[in-house]
Amino acid sequence: MIEIRNLKKTYQTDSGKIIALNDINLSINNGDIFGIIGLSGAGKSSLVRCINMLEAPDSGEILIKGTDITRLKPASLRESRKKIGMIFQHFNLLSNSTVFENIAFPLRISHLPKNEIFQRVNNLLELVDLKDKAYAYPAQLSGGQKQRVGIARALANNPEIILSDEATSALDPVTTEYILDLLKDINKKFGITVIVITHEMQVIKRLCSRVAILENGSVVEKGDVLDIYANPRTETSRSFLKDSFSTLAKSFFINTENNKQRVIRASFIGNSSNKPVISSMIKKCDIEANILAGNIENIQDTQVGNLVIKISGSEKSIDEAVAFLEANEVGIEVLNK
């Protein structure tokens, strides 16, 4: 539904040209929650801001339902923007307007009749559970409440797409979970395509079905979150996956400084978690396996098991064992060699 082709964006600054986006190609399906993750300065905001043309790209196309939004005249661009809601890290609410007025803003500028605005805003207040705050001002709200206002405002015009730029980065962990769940609900309930920008893997794991990893203005990896989780192909994606568990696993390095032993992280997703893969491996290959640590994570409502296993044996049989695991859809990350 959203097709980004050969997108380029540079900024002109006093100290020269900054290439923020370098030949980005992405397609985002209808109804998906699509994640864009990357380190600070990778170009995430630039990318998402091109999608509603808050930034104009230098070249490339952004097709939304077949229409290239980069080529629209100002009036048609404004109409298109009404179908693309946006949520911001710092909420960006009108500070001198009430919660009600903030949510009504997109409807007022669309010249909706008063009674319809009233009806719609009240429904939205209910959706984000802020009925009792309708006539409060933003300064009187907590961060999580402000973001709920931001979400309600983004939903006001019944958008087809929601862009979320670090929507939870200014919030505490509990509030973050609430907001992420709200976004997920909205996606399910209304079938809205959600594009989520973040630098936190946790957000991607919880929310997204597909993800693109951005580094220095380029997409270095993209695909299903589960696939990338199981088989990270680039250093960047690996560094994002390095959660507390991987760090823990690294502590087993010290004892394994020879090639008769190998420590791996094995991830069991969906199918592979139902099979007795480890015991088959031990039977089949001439190795010994020692389980050092394990955990279970929830990604996208799928259980993912992680084991840190020390495999001992000849180099050849260790290779065989790893190949066997891979053949059984177990994700492998070698923690030492």
Binding site: N52, R81, M86, F88, N92, S95, P138, L163
Partner: protein
């Protein structure tokens, strides 16, 4: 008692004249100045209606207008005053130079108030599909309102000062009274009374301005 009454009788008509001058000068200068101030802001580089050329020219004109001493402006503007109100003396005639002198000041006041509006809020409204007038009237002005009110308060007080000067060359009002009685006839009581009235008026206006600014500020 009768002396006080005499003073009052003397001051009241001048007071109304001053009020008349200040009210209309404020009205016109705020209208002209706001338009210029808004244009100054939105035509700036990176803003919602980028026009660097126009922005530069307008900025220069405003700076030039602000650097002309008021007394010279009044005289220079005599022909224009005659054209607009048919005369060059009296309170009505003084409104023309007063408005023209205060308008560039208002423009800068409005400009700095609008520039203080959080750019993120402007972007949020653009993302929601707002057009330029909608951003100006539904975002920039309401968000800047408290600081605009304080700016206009400052403008009114400045105009009161200027209107006293206008009085000196036939504009009428309290300034005129102070000069005719206090300076030319050495009636110190009249001079003092006008000063007291001016102090009270300025104090009152500042208080009301502060109150309104606080009332509209929800931050």
């Amino acid at each position: 008692m009768s002396e006080l009454q005499h003073l009052l009788e003397l001051i009241l008509p001048s007071f109304w004249e001053s009020l008349y001058m200040v009210f209309f000068s404020t009205l016109f200068s705020v209208i002209i100045g706001s338009i210029l101030g808004v244009i100054l802001v939105i035509t700036e580089r990176g803003h919602i209606c980028e026009k660097p050329q126009l922005n530069k020219i307008l900025g220069s004109i405003i700076n030039i207008a602000r650097s002309i001493p008021f007394i010279i402006l009044i005289i220079a503007i005599f022909p224009l005053s005659r054209l607009i109100v048919g005369t060059t003396i009296g309170s009505t005639a003084a409104i023309v130079p007063l408005s023209i002198a205060a308008a560039p000041f208002v423009a800068r006041v409005i400009e700095s108030s609008l520039k203080d509006v959080d750019w993120g809020v402007v972007e949020a409204s653009l993302a929601a599909g707002a057009n330029i007038p909608q951003v100006i009237f539904n975002v920039l002005i309401p968000e800047a309102l408290p600081s605009i009110i304080l700016g206009i308060t400052l403008t009114i007080i400045n105009i009161i000062g200027y209107s006293a000067m206008a009085g000196a060359i036939g504009g009428g009002g309290l300034g005129d009274l102070a000069i005719r009685y206090g300076y030319q006839r050495f009636q110190t009581d009249v001079l003092l009374a006008t000063i007291v009235v001016l102090i009270i008026v300025v104090e009152l206006i500042q208080t009301i301005g502060n109150f309104l600014a606080r009332k509209f500020n929800k931050k």
